[in-house]
């Protein structure tokens, strides 16, 4: 039982860390504001969520778990909203997404699959 929980927690933590790192890579590598924000927004919500779930599985104390659940709920609420507000502000101020016209179709299908 303990081993199973340990393994599950380790998997969650690993996935979370991987997502956070890939979010960081995305910020550096993606071409324009919106794709970068997408990288941060999605991976940070899911990455932080997975790490928190992994930590919840690790701890025995019910109080710690309750606190972690609160933090998880907060991130689930706040992170997407912040990304939404940020993107909205960018559009409102007239920032155009960068589109590669030659390979436009390719990029669009790629970005939708991401």
């Amino acid at each position: 039982m303990d081993v199973a929980i340990e393994i599950m927690s380790a998997i969650c933590l690993l996935i979370g860390s991987f997502l956070c790192v890939s979010g960081g890579v995305g910020v550096l590598r993606f071409p324009d504001f919106y794709t970068r924000m997408h990288a941060v927004g999605v991976t940070d919500t899911l990455g932080a969520g997975m790490i928190l779930i992994g930590l919840m599985l690790q701890s025995q104390d019910i109080l710690v778990i309750a606190k972690l659940v609160m933090i998880l709920l907060m991130t689930l609420f706040i992170n997407p909203t912040a990304s939404h507000a940020l993107a909205k502000a960018a559009i409102h101020n007239g920032l155009k997404p960068v589109l590669d016209n030659k390979e436009r179709n390719n990029t669009e299908s790629e970005s939708s699959s991401r």
Binding site: F77, I78, T81, H84, A85, K88
Partner: protein
């Protein structure tokens, strides 16, 4: 760097990094303050200030080389000065042998508050903290005198219609914020009254409380927020906080102790200390909250007044 928003963001990142640094040094209270004040509210107030002044830096007329020279010299002297300082954590450092041992050893018997930082801040060094509260209050007065608001009362219908038109635009953010604000306020109260037992206290709680109010003002419009929070009332609260702090000191004088010596407040010295710390933290919290709200309202209101004047001029 010419873009002032980028500069402000860098300052905020610096605040957050130094908060992490304080956590690494095991100074959780300071880290909490730095994260809420340095990274949070001061960034926000600077952003509001930028909305008044404009986003990009004016071209400078002075010589940057001279300024750079002065900075390098001063920095060099400061670094030279650190050579004489004892190493971090050295046993014979003045900070380890001066008053710190007495605070650490005597705090539990004399003040009876588990969090030594709070007992030092509010009881041993109560007079310094009083000074800080007064400084914050003075800043509030300064903003009140420098940026007086035009008393243009919009009628309720205009505010209502403006609200409706904004509601469509900002629906998601508004709904999420509406859900979050009660929790933020609750957390602020927790930080305020839990300062005796864990990291927290009046300064942090005041900042968090003010942040909730500012969030509300940003999303629901300044006019709506001003209807919710009466300006005269909040100015009264700012003064009341300092007054409460000072009164605790006066009462302890009248009871035959020193200024801000809480042991004489009640028959039991420890209970007196608890009561005194609770009251002065409350005073600090009141002052910090209302001064930050006043500063924000006046900065943002100044911008709005300017726009109104421009609109009327155009007509």
């Amino acid at each position: 760097m010419k873009d002032l928003i980028a500069v402000v963001m860098l300052a905020g990142i610096y605040g957050l990094l130094s908060a992490c640094f304080f956590v690494a040094m095991d100074a959780v209270d300071v880290a909490f303050t730095e994260a809420s004040v340095g990274a949070g509210i001061s960034t926000l107030l600077m952003l509001v200030a930028i909305t008044i002044t404009g986003r990009s830096e004016e071209t400078t007329r002075h010589k940057p080389a001279l300024a750079f020279f002065v900075v390098v010299i001063t920095g060099g002297l400061l670094i030279y000065g650190t050579i004489d300082m004892p190493y971090v954590g050295a046993v014979d450092a003045p900070i380890q042998i001066h008053v710190a041992p007495r605070y650490i050893n005597g705090s539990m018997q004399e003040v009876g508050v588990p969090n030594i930082v709070t007992s030092v801040l509010a009881s041993y060094r109560g007079f310094d903290t009083f000074g800080e509260a007064v400084v914050i209050f003075t800043a509030g007065i300064g903003v009140l005198t420098l940026l007086p608001l035009a008393r243009s009362r919009k009628d309720d219908d205009a505010i209502e219609s403006l609200n409706e038109s904004m509601h469509e635009q900002h629906m998601i953010v508004r709904i999420v914020t509406k859900m979050l604000i009660p929790f933020i306020l609750l957390f602020a109260l927790y930080v305020q009254f839990h300062g005796d037992y864990g990291p927290g206290g009046g300064f942090q709680a005041g900042v968090i409380f003010a942040a909730a109010i500012i969030l509300y003002a940003m999303l629901f419009g300044l006019a709506t927020a001003r209807r919710v929070i009466n300006q005269t009332f909040i100015q009264f609260i700012a003064a009341f906080g300092v007054l409460l702090y000072g009164s605790v000191g006066i009462v302890s004088l009248l009871n035959g102790g020193h200024f801000l010596d809480y042991s004489v407040l009640l028959a039991d010295p420890i209970a007196g200390q608890h009561l005194g710390i609770l009251l002065i933290e409350l005073g600090v919290g009141c002052t910090v909250t209302s001064v930050i709200v006043i500063i924000f309202f006046h900065f943002a209101g100044h911008k709005e007044d300017k726009q109104n004047m421009k609109n009327e001029g155009a007509r």
